[in-house]
């Protein structure tokens, strides 16, 4: 890794963060909120200063960027974003400690949605906008936005893009990476506008509608209301949210293909079918299990599908405390937290395609045990999956479990009970947000000790950047020049 090359590329990326920070500054100015202007102004200035320093440090380096540099840039930017995103919460006094503020910002940018703020309705409008805006940016990714809006970056952009976009393989939609990034942001933006409009029609005030739309499409989960979407008690808003959570949990590349007239890609995609099947099965199970609470088919399905999608799309909204559901539901939802959404979506988790490949690998090994002479390859739809992809998926799964175990260990050591610790770790790693037990949907992460909050923040960033990117920072290889 060449520190100067990293600095040169990280500088404009942070400048983009500065631009996004201007939105809450503007809103605070408009609302006459002096403290808000101060808090967000300081964060903007700080981030701008860092960008300028990096630019100065990286001056005079050439344009070439290697994979190691790309990893360095993305990790640096995500860490810096979390710090400067956290600053306003400390400065305006909405959270007590810096660790808690880091947690809040990391939760925002990684679109987890777990919060340390007990009563979000007491926050200023600027803070609420910023929380949801973090979801918007983190959902599609700051690097993807950067590649889309910045003039010619060429191949370097491609390296960066691959590091940030989730999924086992990031395939391009258009010949140029810039066009791909632009297409993704257009789709993302258009869906957000549509979602805002529907929320507004459903009776949400326009500010809430915008915030919730950003949160839904980014599969974040921050809400401007303490009771989340449950605040509105509206079937229409619930169904709109259910639909858009599903949409945000699917591969955005498929929407592009569909727009280009290739509808069959959408209907025949094995990952999407699998994701849909899992959601349907879990919804039906939960609807059956909560029948005694909602003895009406429509009601039962509405609550069941909402909580299911809130978990599988890793959004983490709620209309009802699923921690109070029967244990079978709690456990199934806990398992769903591992899977998350589809590759190429804004959702987190292992990704549906990896789970599907794991299941197929297991099935193949089982068949091989009984008939050792059979030769078969794992297929997704009609495409054979190369052996190294399958083994990469297996390793990914193992690493995911290892991080889950380590994170849980730290939380248990800090005094959390077993259920809260394990569910909290996976909820952060898969960027779901709320877990079970003492950090369930109706509670929050405020009572987790500071060290625990920092560990969980690291889990969130690791999960958002697909584990290996963050972990590779700890390899000596990356730092070698």
């Amino acid at each position: 890794m060449n520190p100067r090359a990293v600095a040169r590329l990280a500088a404009p990326l942070l400048a983009l963060v500065v631009v996004t920070l201007l939105a809450p500054v503007g809103l605070a100015l408009h609302d006459g909120d002096a403290l808000g202007v101060f808090a967000y102004g300081v964060a903007t200035a700080g981030c701008g200063l860092l960008a300028a320093l990096l630019r100065w440090f990286g001056r005079g380096t050439d344009d070439s960027i290697h994979r190691k540099d790309a990893i360095g840039v993305v990790v640096l930017v995500w860490l810096a974003m979390s710090i400067f995103g956290a600053l306003p919460f400390v400065l305006d006094g909405s959270v007590p400690t810096f660790a808690a503020a880091i947690f809040e910002a990391a939760s925002g940018f990684t679109t987890s949605g777990g919060s340390v703020i007990p009563n979000v309705e007491a926050l200023t409008r600027a803070s609420n906008l910023w929380r949801c805006e973090m979801h918007l940016i983190g959902g599609m990714g700051i690097v993807v936005l950067f590649v889309a809006v910045f003039p010619q970056l060429g191949v370097g952009a491609k390296q960066l893009f691959k590091v940030e976009v989730p999924g086992p393989s990031s395939e391009g939609l258009r010949p140029r990476i810039k066009q791909t990034a632009l297409a993704l942001w257009w789709i993302y933006g258009a869906l957000m506008l549509l979602c805002t409009l529907l929320y507004w029609l459903g009776g949400m005030p326009i500010f809430d509608a915008v915030c919730h739309a950003m949160s839904t499409l980014g599969t974040g989960g921050f809400s401007t209301k303490a009771a989340s979407i449950g605040h509105y008690q509206s079937a229409f808003i619930d169904w709109v949210t259910i639909a858009f959570m599903f949409v945000a949990g699917c591969n955005f590349g498929l929407y592009y293909m569909a727009l280009r007239g290739r509808w069959r890609d959408l209907t025949s995609n094995p990952e999407l079918r699998f994701y849909l099947a899992v959601n349907l099965a879990v919804t039906l199970l939960i609807a059956w299990a909560i029948w005694d609470r909602h003895p009406d088919v429509g009601e039962s399905l509405r609550y069941a599908s909402f909580q299911t999608l809130a978990v599988t799309s890793t959004t983490g909204y709620m209309t009802e405390d699923f921690d109070a559901y029967p244990d079978i539901c709690r456990f199934v939802l806990f398992l769903c937290m591992f899977m998350g959404g589809c590759a190429g979506s804004t959702a987190g988790g292992l990704k549906a395609v990896r789970v599907l490949l794991l299941l197929k690998a297991i099935a193949r090994e089982l068949r091989a045990a009984t008939s050792p002479n059979v030769v078969e390859s794992i297929k997704l739809g009609r495409a054979a999956i190369p052996a190294q992809v399958t083994s990469a998926v297996l390793v990914f799964f193992a690493v995911y479990l290892a991080i889950f175990a380590l994170g849980s260990l730290v939380l248990v050591a800090l005094g959390l009970d077993l259920i809260s610790a394990t569910s909290g770790t996976i909820a952060c790693l898969s960027s779901v947000g709320p877990g079970l037990g003492s950090i369930g949907p109706s509670r929050n992460f405020a009572d987790v000790p500071a060290l625990g909050q920092l560990v969980l923040s690291a889990c969130m960033i690791a999960g958002r950047l697909e584990v290996f990117v963050l972990l590779s920072v700890f390899t000596r290889d990356l730092w070698r020049r």
Binding site: Q152, G154, V155, K158, P175
Partner: protein
């Protein structure tokens, strides 16, 4: 512009790198690993698949593409894929075919075979480029025009020149000489009656014509002893071109069966069986006494070693074939006179084929105060007099399927290029006139 490149080898990757800023690229290869390597530094959409399958071409949206370039290692794949792409609606298709026997002419470049716009023979184009290097030994400059199929050489007449010695009566200019620069003034050859010592002549024609003319103009440089190391496609073709004119001495090849084959095919060339990287062998065969040496085996390492040994033994001019991009720089550090590489040669031809304005190429020759310019003629046929040439410019030749000398009333048909030499002071006049013409649409 949308360009589909089939084959992500050295040539494909080099083309991708050189085109990525002006075109949207789609890279197709049947080897997924090759695409991963290519993607490291090319901003392109990559597709895994066999490009001779219509399904794969359809996935690359070939109907919307402006150009398909097929450069896989297999001639058959390239031809089939380019012809298929043409039938599926690509605007232009280029295929690389390395077997020289596929071609009807010996230019290494043919248009319209099976509907393919251009079929390129990389080994032939490389040989032609090596001829240019050889010509450069006896000329001030040798400028490739018309994709390298035509060369323009400038040469200062010395005391040994037969033209200068024929003083007294009007000089009989060889046909290839088209213009003369005397005392800084450019004149068409028809207006110059007598050749004088120190005249700079401009020679324009096919590579072999230029090379032969240069040799005739410099008899005092003595006999020509060129040694070729490597009897592959490139070496054999060079030998075949140079031997009839007595411009080659020996060819060294490592494999005995191949030596026998070459001995059957070639006349007037001494075929030596031996290893060009073996110093004892080179000493024994007195390779050091050659005037020029061309290291053209299929191995970069062998070519490099042979070149260095030849320099060591005292060969003045050493030229080498370089297969991998990036090696060329190393050669110049080590004192090798010149290098030629297939990927650059193919890329130059592809760039030349791309639709551009009327001004196809320009090469300034600063020490002579002139510029060599290549002009494309628009959709309608035109006469030379209709070209917006500034005063003092001389049309050297018209290059199309052949090379013709030009007179004022000569017609130029669409698809032909005019090779013009323009005094450097007036070049801007031409550029502005052509830019105006491009805005109106059509060529010069």
């Amino acid at each position: 512009m949308r360009v589909v490149i089939v084959g992500a080898g050295e040539v494909g990757r080099h083309l991708g790198r050189s085109l990525q800023h002006e075109a949207e690229l789609i890279l197709v290869d049947s080897d997924a690993q090759a695409l991963v390597v290519a993607e490291e530094n090319i901003d392109a959409l990559s597709l895994v698949g066999d490009a001779t399958h219509r399904k794969v071409l359809a996935r690359a949206e070939i109907g919307r593409a402006d150009l398909l370039i097929a450069v896989t290692p297999s001639d058959a794949v390239n031809v089939v894929c380019a012809a298929l792409a043409r039938s599926m609606g690509v605007r232009q298709a280029v295929a690389r075919v390395d077997d020289p026997d596929f071609f009807a002419t010996d230019l290494g470049f043919e248009r319209g075979v099976l509907g393919i716009d251009a079929v390129l023979c990389a080994s032939r184009l490389v040989s032609v480029e090596l001829l240019r290097m050889l010509a450069g030994v006896r000329a001030l400059h040798v400028v490739p025009v018309a994709a390298g199929l035509v060369h323009v050489a400038t040469h200062e007449l010395g005391e040994d020149s037969p033209l200068v010695r024929s003083r007294g009566r009007a000089t009989h200019w060889p046909e290839a000489i088209a213009a003369v620069i005397r005392g800084g003034h450019l004149r068409p050859v028809a207006e110059v009656e007598h050749a004088e010592l120190g005249d700079v002549v401009l020679i324009c024609g096919r590579p072999m014509t230029v090379l032969t003319a240069l040799h005739e103009l410099t008899p005092a440089s003595g006999s020509v002893r060129t040694t070729i190391v490597g009897g592959g496609d490139v070496g054999a073709q060079l030998a075949r071109l140079l031997a009839p004119r007595g411009l080659i001495d020996r060819l060294i090849e490592r494999s005995r069966p191949r030596c026998s084959e070459l001995a059957e095919q070639l006349d007037q060339v001494q075929i030596l069986h031996g290893d060009g990287t073996n110093l004892a062998f080179l000493r024994e065969e007195q390779v050091g006494s050659a005037d020029a040496l061309l290291a053209v085996t299929g191995s970069d390492e062998a070519n490099l070693m042979t070149s260095l040994l030849a320099r060591e033994l005292g060969v003045a001019q050493v030229f080498a074939l370089v297969h991998r991009p990036g090696y060329a720089g190393v050669y110049s550090h080590l004192g090798v006179s010149g290098t030629v590489s297939p990927h650059e040669t193919v890329a130059r031809v592809v760039h030349w084929l791309l639709p551009r304005g009327a001004l196809v190429g320009r090469t300034p020759l600063e020490d002579l105060g002139v510029e060599i310019v290549e002009l494309r003629v628009g959709e309608q046929a035109a006469r030379i007099a209709d070209l917006p040439l500034p005063p003092g410019a001389v049309v050297l030749a018209i290059a199309g399927d052949g090379v013709r000398s030009a007179r004022v009333r000569t017609n130029i048909s669409p698809g032909e290029h005019a090779i013009v030499v323009v005094p450097a002071a007036r070049i801007e006049l031409l550029v502005t006139a052509l830019a105006r013409g491009d805005r109106r649409g059509g060529g010069a």
